[in-house]
């Protein structure tokens, strides 16, 4: 069986994946043991990659105005609409909105086309939502967007500070590396700074559960503490930095008590953290979306970086400020210049850079200055200024803040092109032209992970339908626009070589991003390229950034930035926080198709503190509505003591394809950081209230169903979908609505108890169950979810179909809520194993295999063990 090494397309860890190929199919995936990011490990999402392939839900043909068209017609239409908008309204009326999901080569040609040949800087990317505050902070501090750490530093450090990062769920393999390192080095300390008690707190020696948005106070106070306690590295500061005094002035006299007051922390906890930081040379501060997705995200990142610059803890092993990115190729996008305020290859819009890039490209219409950043771009579209918008590999209708604004923008824009691998997304619904893009496994290129490692993503199977790689689509459009000579690439190899050459072009050490050594790769070398970390200059030593104390500012000194900490503006109601779940990715367009990835967290839920819930009269699973001026979401209440009082957590994954009103972005105002333009996605105010529910329902169906209900939420299960639904109307009314959608050509069997409010129906086609619907006034009266999940393979004897209406079968015992997605081990099984004597994660693993693959369920296993011990003691 031939294997092929490639790279995982999910988070910014960028794990190497070994795909096992059999009969032209990917039969399975394993972690690539030789990849520096993961050395063989994979998380559950990566493990399930093979299950995301296939044609289910795929966009397989170009669709123009709702009709399937040929590629030729699609490209021609795109070209003429683009040209028309540009000629009639000027270059700033056109825009590309790209994605950290694109490969570097895709990104490069799209960026080059717009900025070099269409005369507009309007290329932005969903990476704006992810890490642009880190980019801005890096540029302010280092003069260039350079990440000075690697995962090895995270392992080697003696103090790891995780700031706004739930790596256990969002970067599981890095978390596993941290876990292993801590096991090997029990003296290693871990501090988690997060307003939520997350799974990552499992490892923490100290969890600082601060008030949302107050991180900068903590780090400004730390800088002050370091100065007050003689912990500054004066030599390093003098030789390699500037700005310390102003930064200290800005920090003022914040002491631990003052910090405690503004952050809501215990002064002793703050003091402990400060003491540990002061005393630990080898400290890594890993920061992520928790601080970046903020109206003051850039300042927060700089507040963290400042503490490293002031202690000289940068550019050496086991230390440094480490921005960990969310997306697989956020870094690659930054390298090609995919952000509207960058030009290309870490060059910006100063005239020398513009001239240099223009000469390199042979540009015919060079953008003179930065384009619009994501939120501004969509605002401009909503205002009617953007007439042509091409969206690639992203779902802004779900992911951008203020979804209502985004919908207005997409509706108003005259011609919207969406390139995607998935046919039905909330964004695709607005597209005038849909282009089938080849997804992971069907295309070739490179990505760069959070530690600057460039890895190949390789084609494993032929593209399905008429899907094409994005770089090819872009170059064909360029050709249609008469720019063929500038986009004459035979394949991604040629694009990569050009990209590498541009990074080295007139560089001479002036830019850290230099991969000139790769500009001469021949096709075979590119095909076989092993993971490599930049910088990789064509000549001279490839040194780790900043190890020589040289930064990429004009004077070569790093800037310690004066940060004036600001608390978020006060508001009414609860504080809304948002984030990821362990087993889902972004808007679920791919992971949402994999049954086992929908088991850990199934239906759209909103977490809140149990005391707040009690005050609102809410029990676990009740329907709640969270709303503010932006919009409304409705989800099931999840009571989580890890959420502080007055706060609520809304997961970001749910789109209109998976739930009725679930887009977290509906609640997020379009407030952005002034430097980075990154939206404040992790902070909003909203009111929360219980929803009166007259009907609850569970539906197994072969097809996803259209429903006009107060709440529904759907997951993929084996052989179909499972939908939980709730509405304010009585079961009889809900039934009447659903009955119309439930497949007319089915043989039906139903049960009704109209006074009891109990409606059930199963429909079959021959020997196959087509749907099973259970509606009840009471949620508790619905069949057990585990039973519903197995219905796809249920084939009762001919006379027994109506027995399914019992919603119950004595033979099958449910495994309970899925905890370990890799081995599909449920809570019930785990509880039984604990009863039978398993008393540790290891013994549970030995008995059930749970936690033995990706390990991301280990915090939950530990929680279950603790719970069992408490129950035992009680």
């Amino acid at each position: 069986m031939p294997n092929c090494n490639t790279t995982c397309p999910y988070c910014g860890v960028g794990c190497g994946v070994t795909a096992q190929l059999a009969g032209g199919q990917v039969s399975g995936v394993l972690g690539d043991g030789d990849h520096p990011a993961n050395a063989g490990r994979l998380c559950v999402k990566g493990t399930a990659l093979a299950e995301t392939l296939g044609d289910e839900g795929r966009l397989l043909h170009p669709v123009l105005a709702g009709h399937r068209v040929s590629w030729q017609a699609a490209i021609a239409a795109l070209g003429s609409k683009l040209q028309e908008a540009r000629e009639r309204h000027g270059p700033d009326a056109i825009a590309f909105y790209l994605s950290g999901q694109l490969l570097t080569e895709d990104y490069y040609v799209a960026n080059k086309l717009m900025k070099g040949f269409l005369g507009s800087g309007n290329v932005d990317t969903n990476s704006r939502l992810c890490m642009s505050s880190a980019v801005a902070a890096h540029k302010r501090a280092f003069g260039e967007d350079v990440v000075p750490c690697t995962y090895a530093d995270v392992e080697d450090c003696d103090l790891l500070v995780m700031v706004g990062s739930n790596a256990a769920w969002t970067h599981p393999v890095v978390y596993q590396r941290i876990e292993a390192a801590k096991q090997a080095n029990p003296g290693k300390r871990i501090v988690v700074i997060d307003p939520r008690r997350t799974a990552s707190c499992d490892l923490a020696d100290l969890h600082l559960q601060l008030l949302p948005g107050t991180d900068a106070f903590l780090f400004a106070g730390l800088l002050r503490h370091l100065a007050n306690n003689g912990a500054l590295d004066r030599a390093f500061i003098d030789a390699h930095t500037s700005g310390l005094d102003a930064a200290l002035d800005a920090a003022g006299n914040l002491d631990a008590a003052g910090v405690a007051q503004v952050t809501g922390l215990d002064a002793q906890e703050v003091a402990t953290f400060y003491d540990w930081f002061t005393a630990t040379e080898r400290t890594v501060s890993m920061f992520s979306q928790g601080v970046k997705q903020s109206a003051t995200g850039t300042d927060k990142c700089n507040a963290v970086i400042n503490c490293h610059l002031a202690t000289g803890r940068i550019g050496r092993p086991g230390m440094g400020p480490f921005s960990i990115t969310g997306q697989p190729n956020a870094m690659g996008g930054r390298e090609v210049g995919g952000l509207s305020n960058q030009l290309a290859a870490h060059m910006d819009y100063d005239p020398a850079d513009v001239d240099r890039v223009a000469r390199f490209w042979g540009a015919t219409d060079m953008a003179a200055g930065p384009g619009l950043k994501a939120v501004d771009l969509f605002q401009a579209a909503a205002d009617g200024h953007i007439k042509f918008l091409w969206i690639m590999a992203t779902n802004p209708a779900v992911s951008l803040p203020d979804s209502a604004l985004v919908r207005r923008a997409l509706a108003r824009c005259e011609f919207v092109v969406v390139s995607d691998c998935t046919a039905q997304t909330d964004t695709a619904a607005f597209a005038d032209l849909l282009l089938p893009a080849a997804p992971w496994g069907e295309k070739d290129g490179t990505v760069t992970n959070s530690e600057r490692v460039i890895s190949r993503q390789r084609q494993l199977v032929p593209a399905l339908g008429e899907a094409r790689p994005d770089w090819l689509i872009v170059t064909q459009v360029a050709r249609a626009l008469g720019l063929g000579e500038h986009f004459d690439y035979r394949g991604p190899e040629a694009i990569f070589r050009e990209h590498a050459a541009l990074s080295a072009f007139e560089n001479n050490g002036s830019r850290a991003f230099d991969i000139g050594a790769l500009a001469q790769l021949d096709d075979a070398q590119y095909a076989a390229l092993a993971p490599v970390r930049w910088p990789l200059p064509a000549s001279g030593p490839a040194i780790e950034p900043f190890c020589d104390g040289r930064f990429f500012t004009a004077d070569g000194r790093a800037r310690i930035v004066a940060v004036q900490p600001q608390a978020p503006a006060p508001g009414e109601g609860m504080t809304i926080n948002t984030g990821r779940f362990r087993d889902q990715w972004h808007t679920m367009t791919r992971t949402g198709r994999v049954p086992r990835l929908s088991q850990h967290r199934d239906f759209f839920s909103i977490s809140l503190n149990p005391s707040d819930a009690a005050q609102l009269g809410l029990a676990e699973g009740d329907l709640v509505e969270v709303g503010n001026a932006q919009g409304v979401v409705r989800g099931l209440a999840t009571l989580d003591p890890g959420i502080a009082r007055g706060q609520s957590f809304v997961p970001i994954h749910w789109s209109g394809q998976f739930t009725a009103a679930g887009g977290a972005s509906n609640l997020i105002p379009a407030i952005t950081d002034p430097y980075s333009g990154q939206p404040q996605s992790k902070f909003a105010h909203a009111s929360i209230a219980p929803c009166a529910v007259a009907s609850w329902g569970l539906l197994f169906s072969r097809e996803p169903l259209v429903m006009e209900l107060a709440y529904w939420s759907r997951i993929a299960v084996s052989g179909g979908y499972l939908t939980l639904l709730a509405d304010t109307a009585a079961p009889a009314t809900v039934y009447a609505q659903l009955a119309r959608e439930l497949g007319a050509d089915c043989e039906r069997a139903g049960y009704e108890d109209s006074v009891g409010g109990d409606w059930r129906e199963v429909g079959r086609r021959g020997d196959t169950l087509h749907y099973a619907l259970f509606l009840n006034r009471s949620r508790d009266a619905l069949p057990e979810r585990g039973w519903m999940t197995g219905l796809g393979s249920e084939t009762p004897a001919a006379g027994e179909w109506h027995q399914l209406l019992a919603g119950f079968s004595a033979e099958r015992e449910s495994a309970g809520k899925l905890v370990c997605s890799c081995w599909e081990v449920g809570e019930t099984q785990i509880a039984r194993a604990i009863e039978a004597g398993a008393d540790s994660v290891e013994t549970l693993g030995a008995a059930l295999r749970c936690g033995t693959q990706c390990g991301s369920c280990i915090p939950e296993l530990r929680q279950l063990l603790d719970q069992a011990r408490e129950d035992c003691a009680a």
Binding site: E747, R748, A749, G750, Y751, E752, D753, S754, V755, G756, D758, V762, A781, G799, W801, H802, Q803, L805, A806, G807, F808, A810
Partner: protein
């Protein structure tokens, strides 16, 4: 089909019951008039009791004590005649000479006189005279004369092809008829009509059922249950004309049936016409003997008629305003009567809400309690099944099950028990196991 209780061939020795002193005989004589199922049940019950009765059973059919309920299966070829036996074969053998020693504790004898009918009964002389001239003295006499097919309201006398279906002989004759390609009309979609229709359909007749009510088996089923059963029977090839009555019967020049006219004017061709519009209790003999009768022979709660020492049970009897047609109450009557005859304590007969439990053409039917449309309903339909439970005040009051009668007995218990349903409600319609498991969950 009723389930037979375990039987013993000899009664256990026990304290003798004193004989009537005025007879010189050592043993009393019991005559049972009629050798149908009711008689068989009495014999079964007596066989389990200590008594001093020598029994003579007199029946006009050649065969005695067969299971009439299964006749439609015999017609359909689904059961053999041998399957109809209700008594031990030895019991039915010709009577032995009465040479037994009366002093012994031997059980009473049972003598069958078949192929003749009792023509007169003298309740004073205590004799029963048969059409063949024989006379049978009795101490006690039981009417088990059953019922006949209700006469149709249309004149069809002398027309060849108008048949009845009541006896084994009828079944044999019907089976002997050429069926393939011929059209049979059954009038009446009650239990008997549908069973006959099933049998004829299986024989190969192109079978059609006429029914006055728009719902078949409307006495047992509700509208939807009737419709479900109708669909099942239609799926087996039986046709229905509902809400119509027969207005006339037409014969050809040879006096052979050729069709019928309906009250809506429609004409239907037919080669065979079978009336199953109900039964009429056979009471003439009792009436002639001066015994009180109404629709049936009047009996009290001990099955006593107006004449001392004379009893009646089964389809010929009438208790209060009730006549009987289904097996369950008749079995109960037999138990009361046998105890009465043997002088054994037994609760008196009372009317109960006997659940109807049937199987027509393979379709199970169960019905118990009242089907009150104004009460709360739990309904399951589809997959060839219709189940409806009726609740009032959180109690089960009625059940009708078509196509899947699982749980029927439990429902009857719940109905008669009258307890609150409570948490059993969610799974109630799926029977006891599911209901209790769900209630426990």
């Amino acid at each position: 089909m009723p389930r037979h209780r375990p039987r013993t061939t000899t009664a256990p020795p026990a304290a003798r019951i004193p004989r009537r002193p005025e007879t010189g005989d050592m043993r009393r004589k019991l005559v049972i008039v009629g050798a149908g199922m009711a008689a068989a049940y009495v014999l079964q019950e007596l066989a389990q009791l200590e008594h001093d009765l020598d029994v003579t059973v007199i029946g006009d059919e050649t065969e005695a004590c067969y299971n009439r309920v299964l006749l439609s299966n015999v017609l359909a070829g689904e059961n053999s005649e041998a399957d109809l036996a209700m008594l031990e074969p030895a019991m039915l053998e010709p009577a032995m000479p009465e040479t037994d020693s009366p002093e012994t504790d031997s059980p009473g004898t049972v003598q069958f006189v078949t192929g003749t009918r009792v023509s007169a009964i003298d309740t004073d002389a205590r004799t029963a005279r048969c059409a063949d001239g024989s006379e049978h003295p009795f101490d006690a006499l039981v009417f088990a004369t059953g019922a006949g097919v209700a006469r149709p309201g249309v004149d069809c006398s002398g027309i060849i092809g108008v048949e009845v279906f009541r006896t084994l002989r009828d079944a044999r004759e019907l089976r002997a008829l050429p069926a393939r390609g011929r059209r049979a009309l059954v009038v009446g979609a009650g239990l008997l009509g549908l069973e006959a229709a099933h049998g004829l359909n299986e024989l190969g007749f192109d079978t059609r059922v006429l029914h006055r009510n728009p719902v078949i088996m409307n006495r047992q089923l509700d509208t939807e249950g009737g419709a479900q059963l109708q669909r099942d029977l239609e799926a087996r090839g039986i046709h229905f004309d509902l809400g119509v009555q027969i207005a006339g019967v037409a014969a050809d020049d040879n006096g052979r049936l050729c069709g019928v006219t309906l009250d809506n004017g429609e004409r239907l061709p037919a080669d065979l016409l079978l009336f199953a519009t109900g039964i009429t209790p056979n009471i003439e003999l009792a009436a002639q003997a001066g015994i009180a009768t109404a629709r049936g022979i009047r009996v009290d709660e001990r099955l006593r008629t107006s004449a001392p020492g004379v009893y009646a049970l089964g389809e010929c009897s009438q208790f209060g305003e009730h006549c009987f047609g289904l097996v369950a109450p008749i079995r109960e009557q037999a138990a009361v009567l046998a105890a009465q005859l043997a002088g054994v304590q037994h609760p008196p007969f009372c009317l109960q809400d006997y659940p109807t439990q049937l199987k027509i053409s393979g379709v199970e039917i169960y019905r118990a309690g009242e089907l009150d449309d104004a009460a709360e309903q739990l309904v399951l339909r589809g997959n060839g099944v219709y189940r409806r439970l009726v609740l009032r005040d959180n109690r089960l009051v009625g059940a009708v099950l078509v196509g899947d009668k699982r749980g029927g007995t439990w429902y009857s218990e719940l109905i008669s028990g009258g307890g609150e349903i409570g948490a059993l409600r969610a799974g109630l319609i799926f029977g006891r196991d599911v209901s209790e498991a769900l209630a426990a969950a």
